[in-house]
Amino acid sequence: MSAVDAIATGRLRRARRRGAVIGGALALLAAAFALTLMLGQSFVPPGTVLRVLAGGDVPGASFTVGQLRLPRAVLSVLAGLSFGLGGAAFQIMLRNPLASPDIIGISRGASAAAVFAIVVMGLDGPMVSVLAVAAGLGVALLIHGLSHRGGVAGTRLILVGIGVSAMLDSVIAYTLSRAPSWDLDQAMRWLTGSVNGAQPAQALPLLVSLAVFGGLLVSRARDLESLRLGDDTAAALGTNVALTRVLVILAAVGLIAVATAITGPVAFVAFLSGPIAARILGPNGSVLVPAGLVGAALVLGGDYIGQFLLPARFPVGVVTGALGAPYLIWLIVRVNRAGGSL
């Protein structure tokens, strides 16, 4: 076999593995989606689910599946995709799993703005999303500015982000404490994230955000991937590093902020999706799209576990938070052992 054939074979093998992982993830996600429509307090057989999905009117099932389970599952998948894509984009760009938007304060910025808009300004609907995106971008600019000293160092940006995040947490807590009519369930949404009370109309802003920002990210996936070789190498390979960075930040913040404005900050999904997807995918190309699929599976599965598999009902953010916290601790311990350089 000639050298060229060997190279071509190796490349095809990587592409096939990548296709298998993405295909498998899609199949699993579809199966989980179907199961959450069928299972719950009561079992709805697949035939009935299909009839409801086709628009048929089935007494009982039309309500449980059509009104309760379907919007919830759709919202879980869309929000999970947004968190997974946005989180992985930041982690790839800054070459650090800790650089996820929910660790460095960007999700908190969107949360704080959404809480402020709802509680203090009395807004709802798309205006809340717009403000959340603006605040997410504002926080991104703030931590970028604060950590910029002759070039952006990943470690400094992460530490500044963690500080900003803590500050924003107190803004959220203060705003919530000023809202006497705010009931506990809604307050929980802004602290941990939840898809309780999902409405079909909430899917629209998420779909638009995924089409615009998600599309932008995926179209830049190759340039983003080149940043993993270091900014200098990426530039040497013809990537416009500054432009790629700006577009990726814009798109990732947009995804995260819109999703946060609707479901609240579902804990650690942005942070976990990239590393889990990387573990499954191996070194077979960009982790971006697989991370989106993992995010969707995490929110969908986490919500199901929180609703039905635990002794009490918990919002999805509690479940993903319980998954993410040990990983965060492990990551920090491992980084410290490696000499403290992130």
Binding site: A8, G10, G230, A236
Partner: protein, 267 residues
Amino acid sequence: MSTHSLSVRGLVAGYADRTILHGLDLEVLPGRITAIVGANACGKSTLLRTMSRLLSPRAGQVLLDGKAIHRMAPRRVAQVMGLLPQSPIAPEGITVADLVSRGRHPHHGILSRWSRQDDEAVAAALEATKTLDLADRAVDELSGGQRQRVWIAMALAQETDLLLLDEPTTFLDISHQVEVLDLLTDLNHRRGTTVVMVLHDLNLAARYADHLVAMAGGTLHAQGAPEDVLTAETVRAVFGLDSRIIPDPTSGRPMMLPIGRHRMAVE
């Protein structure tokens, strides 16, 4: 044979509030090997970074085929000029073949598909750097010398007429240093690739370069054939060091022997 020209006119560049290059002119000889030498912090890496448009000049220009490189599209530049920076990062677990194929990046747009020509370029780069048998190995398992050959292979897969390298032999032991410089010389002889590199070792620079550029204090101190540039006067001016220059018995090129305060047989 490289047909592209690269030159530097009145270049002023630096970082934040520090100006490092103070008005520098340089004409890179097409199809030859140029080595840039100088003391630490003399601006040799800054010069290479500005020439490869990693850094924007404060004043002056870098001209690629007569056009200001900082105003050209990055992808267009990357099709003509490759660069191996000082500390490239290999993503965790990436295989040699995968990493080298990243060198094809500038030849692809958003929608273009991988072609036979890309496979050929990658295979040729692996063969030229004798890393073909490492193709399926993970880059993080390799030795320092092997890894450096793989990075050079990535730059080769880019198939550029000009290749810039920032200290390609740093952190390598002497046998791997020679191996890398031999490889670059092969490349220059076979494909006519113009090579510009920053080197730490004055004697290896004098041995392998057709054109030696000595920098001091952010300007060009001397340039020309190694025989003309590597003199005791240059070494004193550039490094602040007394030395003897003798002909290298293996290559006939000049060789610098430093004179310190101790262990001198002839006082």
